[in-house]
């Protein structure tokens, strides 16, 4: 059996949860078994995960607030109770806090941050993940009985293959929480960067935070999330959580539009898995053009408003 941990934020599922259930259902099919989903704490319409291929949804009550030890114990407990040998979760901030604990708890081989469905041959399961910050792929064979896989965001398309299913409460022994959550601050109303399919990003070429309107206007027209380069976050022109690159967030959107960013190798390391890259820069020698699919050599303060108008015209067709 494949067990998928589907995370809910404030009781609601985000795209990442639908992606992991889709992934789990397809993996189960390849293994000739079924996929069930696990939710923790209070979740609205948990049975909805059946639409993405879970044949059943289980819920374990946990007290409010995230603690990696409690969550890992709950998931490991469910895997043992249900005899699920393959466990799938998201490679997001929650997943990165849990995956290692879960693997240690189950003495399992783990593949964190995979990008595609596993290759299954008999009991052998091999998954592909990016390594060297997106500069190569590695095929990882998991050698243990229990297998833990965490899936990078935007790696596979969400697919609906069923309808809502029953939710059953499961009870497992849980340790007490060692971490007390004091405060959670999240920008509301935007798609977080790792989940965003469309991203518009600005760099030093914007010259100052007061000029960011050309970025946000384009992002609004596209329905995209905004991002920025490291120097911009370092001088606080933009919030830290918008910083994409080697030391910031690594993303893999369908479309990444970079304006006024030269394309240092450290920046590319965070965005080189994007499916399509558009670079706007007035310097035709900017290294970013070598990594781009489409390039516009020009003044971003003229090009971006023109692009925003063209997007709006396209959307009104």
């Amino acid at each position: 059996m494949v067990l998928v941990f589907a995370e809910a934020t404030n009781g609601k599922f985000k795209k990442a949860a639908h992606e992991v259930v889709t992934y789990g259902a397809k993996t189960a099919k390849a293994l000739g078994t079924t996929c069930v989903a696990l939710t923790l704490g209070t979740v609205e319409n948990a049975g909805d995960l059946g639409r993405f291929g879970a044949t059943k949804v289980y819920n374990i009550a946990v007290s409010n607030g995230f603690d990696s030890g409690v969550f890992a114990a709950a998931i490991a407990g469910a895997a043992k109770a249900l005899d699920a040998k393959v466990i799938v979760l998201s490679h997001n901030s929650t997943g990165k806090n849990i995956t290692g604990r879960l693997a240690a708890r189950l003495d399992a081989g783990s593949a964190p941050g995979v990008n595609s469905l596993p290759e299954v041959s008999g009991d052998k399961l091999t998954v592909r993940k990016t390594v060297f910050s997106g500069k190569a792929f590695a095929d990882v064979e998991i050698l243990t009985d229990y297998k833990v896989i965490s899936l990078s965001g935007n790696s596979i398309p969400v697919e609906e293959s069923g309808s809502a299913v029953d939710v059953e409460t499961l009870s497992v022994d849980l340790p007490s929480a060692k971490v007390k959550v004091l405060e959670t601050k999240r920008a509301e109303g935007i798609t977080p960067l790792p989940e965003a399919e469309l991203v518009v990003s600005g760099g030093r070429g914007l010259k100052g935070p007061e000029n960011w309107g050309v970025i946000t206007d384009l992002a609004d027209a596209l329905g995209a999330t905004t991002a920025c380069s490291r120097p911009v976050a370092d001088v606080n022109w933009r919030p830290h959580h918008e910083h994409v690159g080697q030391t910031g967030v690594a993303i893999r959107p369908n479309l990444y539009i970079a304006a006024g960013i030269s394309g240092a190798i450290q920046h590319l390391a965070g965005v080189n898995s994007s499916k399509t890259i558009v670079v706007v820069n007035k310097d035709p020698e900017a290294p970013f053009f070598k990594a781009a699919d489409y390039g516009v050599v020009g003044d971003l303060f003229e090009v971006l408003p023109r692009l925003t108008a063209a997007i709006k015209a396209h959307k009104s067709l």
Binding site: K178, V181, H241, Y294
Partner: protein, 244 residues
């Protein structure tokens, strides 16, 4: 406070990745190695700052062969008091975590970088915390200690979460935690005399193996679009790239 900083050796950030002829490994000829930047800039430097503020000791641990000593000595030159190298090679994340856990008894705080820039796993810290039944805070961008209680800010999608935790605990450090330090000549000289204890690994088996590597397909040449004609760019994104 007794602090343990777990460091990894990785290819330098700007390394051009090439593979061996049979794709079984990275072609390591001519590759320069460094201390994993998250381990050095953020985890190690924050530990040193805490020691400078309130006393204690900072120990570095690395799991790897003798050639890793250069990276460990750099950590000592930046200011760590002593170091442990578990003399082992390969084995994967859980193998490495078990080696660290076997040496980590008695520390109040165990620090990791948020990921290594080679395998990008982000999991050894959480594994060690689980093996030692400790609290763990991943991707921490801020840490304040007040006696045995810590306030830690961790990065989450689109924001941060602030948590409180008591020693002993483990964390992985992200940007914001501290600023890079360059070792000075005195530090480099002193590092040569600081203890670097080499220890044999404990028994553990590998749980994963990498069967092969592959490089991403070469990017085709950029298609330049007339800056006056953004309607054409929109057409290309819609009809050719099919992303809008």
């Amino acid at each position: 406070m007794k602090m343990l900083v777990c460091v990894s050796k990785t290819p330098e950030t700007t390394t051009k990745i090439q593979l061996t002829a049979d794709n079984s490994d990275l072609d390591r000829s001519g590759v320069n190695y460094i201390m994993n930047p998250y381990d050095e800039w953020y985890a190690l430097v924050r530990a040193l700052e805490l020691k400078e503020a309130s006393g204690g000791t900072v120990t570095i641990i690395n799991v790897g062969p003798a050639e890793n000593d250069a990276v460990i000595r750099k950590g000592l030159a930046i200011g760590a008091d002593d170091a442990i190298r578990v003399n082992a090679e390969g084995g994967g994340s859980l193998y490495i975590a078990k080696q660290i856990a076997a040496q980590a008894a008695g520390y109040d705080l165990i620090l990791f970088g948020k990921e290594t820039i080679d395998y990008n796993g982000s999991e050894v810290g959480a594994m060690v915390a689980e093996l030692l039944d400790m609290a763990y805070v991943g991707e921490a961008s801020h840490l304040e200690m007040n006696g045995t209680t810590a306030t830690v800010t961790r990065d989450i999608e689109g924001g941060v979460e602030v948590v409180e935790v008591s020693t002993p605990f483990a964390l992985s450090a992200a940007k914001g935690m501290a600023e890079q330090r360059i070792p000075n000549m005195r530090g480099i000289m002193m590092a040569k005399r600081k203890p670097l204890n080499v220890i044999d690994p404990v028994e553990a088996t590998a749980t994963t193996s990498i069967s092969s590597y592959e490089l991403p397909p070469a990017k085709s040449a950029v298609k330049l679009v007339d800056p006056e004609d953004m309607t054409e760019l929109v057409r290309l994104l819609h009809e050719e790239a099919k992303v809008i």
